[in-house]
């Protein structure tokens, strides 16, 4: 893609962000707050200091993993609404490995193993939806949503039961052993770098590999794909499994990089915001980098806005919705114009 094409592809997402922020300003005005100081507080809470940047990046990291998961499965025509549950499944599996299976293992063993466990946990949960669709024609929209409840309740069960901390004081797991914690620079853990690397990897997978080519063919036209010898069911299963692995990593790295324990309500809905991230990125893996950063900044800045301007932080959730509403309200052709999927190059 040429620079000009890339610029025009980015135009609508950027415009919808600007429009949504404009609407937020209007809303603040109506609620009786001074919009500019509030927005300023939001911005400086997200980017104003190194602590603010750290908070933003820590929020952006799980959004990036899950956003990539959603983009990858949507590209294959699989409407995976289950990133949230897959994240929890990954967190659960990683915690089980770190606190129960191998609590005494050294970091060189434990870090890769708990990452692997997280990816496997997410992938297995997602694969249930993929198998149900392939074998019984069950809509993955329904099954992934329902599996979210299963995973979230499984975590609740675990932290009240088998994984509960030794003191039994709270419904949470033991703190992860030090060897299980991700290497970090300050609070910025290794997972953030892995997320960025995976954005490039998923881009490569979708646009440069034969598997990605077939997944895109299935996403664009399952009938034509079938006549070309490409099984829509099999590729849907593969894509949702990889997506589950990505979301599972988000959960593992939340536990091993941020919270250091497993507990209920671990995720403030990352797996749902991920859908917004993927759509804003127009299902382009590389574009999920800025999209995740934007939504991460909103999350991080919301607290600052509440503290220094007295605006309830939930207002930013309205912005999250507005961005997507504005984006999908844009005429279809304009959104699609140079659809990156249509080019053999992708967004490269």
């Amino acid at each position: 893609m040429t620079t000009r094409q890339a610029a025009s592809a980015a135009l609508w997402p950027v415009l919808s962000v600007v429009l949504a922020l404009g609407m937020l300003a209007l809303l603040l005005l109506l609620l009786g707050y001074a919009p500019l100081p509030a927005l300023w507080a939001l911005a400086s809470g997200a980017f104003g200091s190194s602590a603010a940047w750290t908070a933003t990046l820590l929020k952006a990291s799980p959004l990036l993993f899950t956003g990539l998961a959603v983009a990858l499965s949507f590209r294959c025509g699989v409407w995976n609404i289950g990133a949230e549950g897959q994240l929890y499944a990954g967190a659960l599996a990683a915690t089980a490995v770190a606190t129960r299976l191998l609590p005494g293992a050294p970091a060189v063993v434990l870090t890769p193993l708990l990452s692997l466990a997280g990816a496997a946990g997410g992938a297995l949960l997602a694969a249930i939806a993929g198998v149900l669709r392939a074998a019984r024609g069950v809509s993955e929209v329904i099954s992934t949503i329902l599996l979210n409840f299963v995973a979230i309740q499984a975590v609740a069960l675990a932290v009240h039961g088998p994984l509960q901390e030794a003191s039994r004081a709270y419904p949470q797991s033991d703190a992860l052993p030090a060897a299980a914690l991700l290497p970090a620079f300050g609070r910025l853990h290794l997972g953030i770098a892995i997320a960025v690397a995976l954005a490039f990897a998923v881009q490569l997978l979708i646009f440069r590999t034969a598997l990605g080519f077939r997944m895109r063919a299935v996403g664009l036209s399952p009938v034509a794909a079938r006549f070309a010898g490409i099984s829509p069911e099999r590729h849907a299963l593969v894509s949702i499994s990889i997506a589950g692995a990505l979301a599972g990593l988000a959960g593992a790295f939340e536990v091993a990089g941020v919270t250091e324990r497993l507990y209920e309500g671990l995720s403030p809905g990352y797996g749902y915001t991920a859908i917004a991230v993927a759509l804003l990125a127009r299902l382009n893996p590389l574009a999920t980098l800025p999209a995740a950063l934007f939504f991460g900044a909103l999350e991080a800045g919301a607290g600052a806005m509440q503290r220094s301007a007295g605006v309830p932080s939930v207002v930013t959730q309205i912005v999250q919705g507005l961005v997507i509403l504005v984006f999908v309200a844009i005429p279809f052709e304009a959104r699609q114009a140079p659809l990156p999927g249509a080019s053999i190059d992708g967004a490269a």
Binding site: A217, S221, R226, F227
Partner: protein
């Protein structure tokens, strides 16, 4: 018909209903209803969980806000008796037979005051008995002063019911005749005919002895409907031969295509290429040298949203070492290949990065033809390959079929275009209700048309 119903706005022309010219600029389905036009669709539009009176009351124009069950029921019962359209009124529509539902739909149009009633292939889903039961009601409607438009491709029904016959072919009104003057052969010929300008058919190659290049033996496969289930299809195509399979849609064409493309499982029979058994999967068939070309875009394997180059390599994404190495796609090689192919097959515009959806139907089909024929297949299964194409593109496609034949390819041409089949094919059979019916060597368009429209086949040997 959609114009008449206000669903499609015509580009030019006029519409008169009961002698009054209709203003087409703002003509909507509601206007059509008000003008007294009603349609009975091929597929039921009734709510299955409701009874017939409920269905009729629901959405009625100018009805009262309250649903007065007894009143509506009485009204419907009166109509039903008046027109001999017998329908149970007190059970949910879900429990009614297809024929009963159809009668309910007719009652609904009558209840709305329709004086012009359009029936779109009303008998397609009916048993012969139900069809016979439908006709007295329709006659009574006619005698009561309604105009009835009855769409069908079954000649005996038209002969048994119609006062006048209009033949539509590809959007052109070819003839209007009194039902008494028209005979079945002539109508069949009018319905299915088309001229093929300017094609030259090279002489057939000398026959080689030995196993046919492509053979189907006693193929059976489930169908979308009973009539389209494949019931023991046996066929053979020699190298350098085009065998035409003529037929009307819904007689197993789609099923046969899907079986030969490898996407529909078979329940019995075998497919052989040069005497060797080939398992009916897409990739095995393709590996054995069987190509598949369809006039319908998605069934032809074209992916809208993919570029020309991506579509050209679509069937090569597993193991073709020209484009895939170590799981990675060589996009530059795909582009080079696409430029080369487009030049050889004369496809314009020659930009491999264009989305296939931006091409005209003719050019898109040329891409599909190029993909299927560039591998020099031993066998080509072509299904309505010129459907919906302009004359020039259709000619291109037909020329390519003949060129493959000259190179010794075996072509199975499954088509509803009788002239195309008769002109291109060395041998013709008919596919009627899932069975292969032999066609005499000297059959012309009218004779072939009569076979296709005659309904049940006599024997199933070709």
């Amino acid at each position: 018909m959609h114009v008449l119903l206000g669903l499609v706005r015509p580009d030019t022309g006029q519409l008169e209903i009961a002698g009054r010219r209709v203003d087409l600029a703002g003509y909507s389905p509601a206007d059509a209803l008000r003008a007294g036009v009603g349609m009975v669709h091929q597929h039921s539009t009734l709510v299955p969980a409701m009874t017939v009176p409920e269905n009729i009351a629901f959405g009625a124009v100018g009805g009262s806000a309250l649903f007065r069950r007894a009143r509506v029921r009485a009204r419907v019962a009166r109509l039903a008796e008046q027109y001999a359209l017998d329908v149970p009124l007190d059970v949910p529509v879900a429990q009614l037979s297809v024929g009963q539902r159809q009668r309910a739909e007719i009652l609904r149009t009558l209840d709305r005051g329709a004086r012009v009633i359009v029936l779109d292939e009303p008998t397609a889903a009916l048993t012969p008995g139900e069809t016979q039961a439908l006709f007295p009601g329709l006659r009574r409607l006619r005698d009561g002063g309604s105009a009835i438009v009855f769409i069908s491709h079954k000649l005996e029904e038209i002969e048994g019911l119609a006062d006048r016959v209009a033949v539509l072919r590809r959007g052109v009104l070819v003839a209007v005749k009194g039902a008494r003057e028209a005979d079945a052969r002539e109508l069949g010929s009018l319905m299915l005919g088309r001229d093929l300008p300017g094609l030259v058919r090279p002489p057939a190659l000398p026959r080689e002895e030995g196993a046919p290049a492509f053979a189907l033996r006693d193929l059976e496969a489930p169908g979308l409907r009973e009539a389209s289930r494949l019931k023991g299809v046996t066929l053979a195509v020699q190298a350098g031969e085009i065998v035409g399979v003529a037929g009307i849609d819904g007689n197993g064409q789609r099923e046969l295509e899907e079986v030969l493309a490898g996407v529909r499982p078979i329940t019995a029979g075998r497919i052989e290429v040069s005497g060797r058994l080939v398992p009916p999967s897409v990739r095995r068939l393709r590996a054995a040298g069987v190509s598949h070309l369809s006039g319908e875009r998605e069934r032809g394997g074209l992916v809208a949203g993919f570029t020309i180059a991506e579509n050209l390599i679509l069937k090569s994404s597993y193991d073709d070492r020209r484009f895939v190495r170590g799981g990675l796609l060589d996009r530059e090689a795909a582009r080079r290949y696409a430029r080369d192919v487009m030049q050889r097959f004369g496809i314009k515009p020659a930009d491999p990065d264009l989305d296939i959806a931006t091409l005209s139907g003719g050019n898109a089909q040329k891409v599909a033809v190029a993909r299927e024929l560039d591998s020099r297949p031993r066998v080509l299964v072509a299904v309505n390959p010129t459907r919906g194409l302009d004359v020039g593109s259709a000619r291109f496609v037909n020329e390519q079929l003949l060129a493959l034949r000259s190179l010794g390819g075996a072509v199975l041409l499954v088509s509803t275009e009788l002239d195309e089949v008769l002109f291109l094919a060395d041998r013709v059979v008919a596919l009627v209700e899932g069975c292969v019916v032999p066609v005499p060597r000297d059959a012309d368009r009218a004779a072939l048309g009569a076979i296709l429209l005659s309904g049940a086949p006599q024997s199933a040997v070709a």
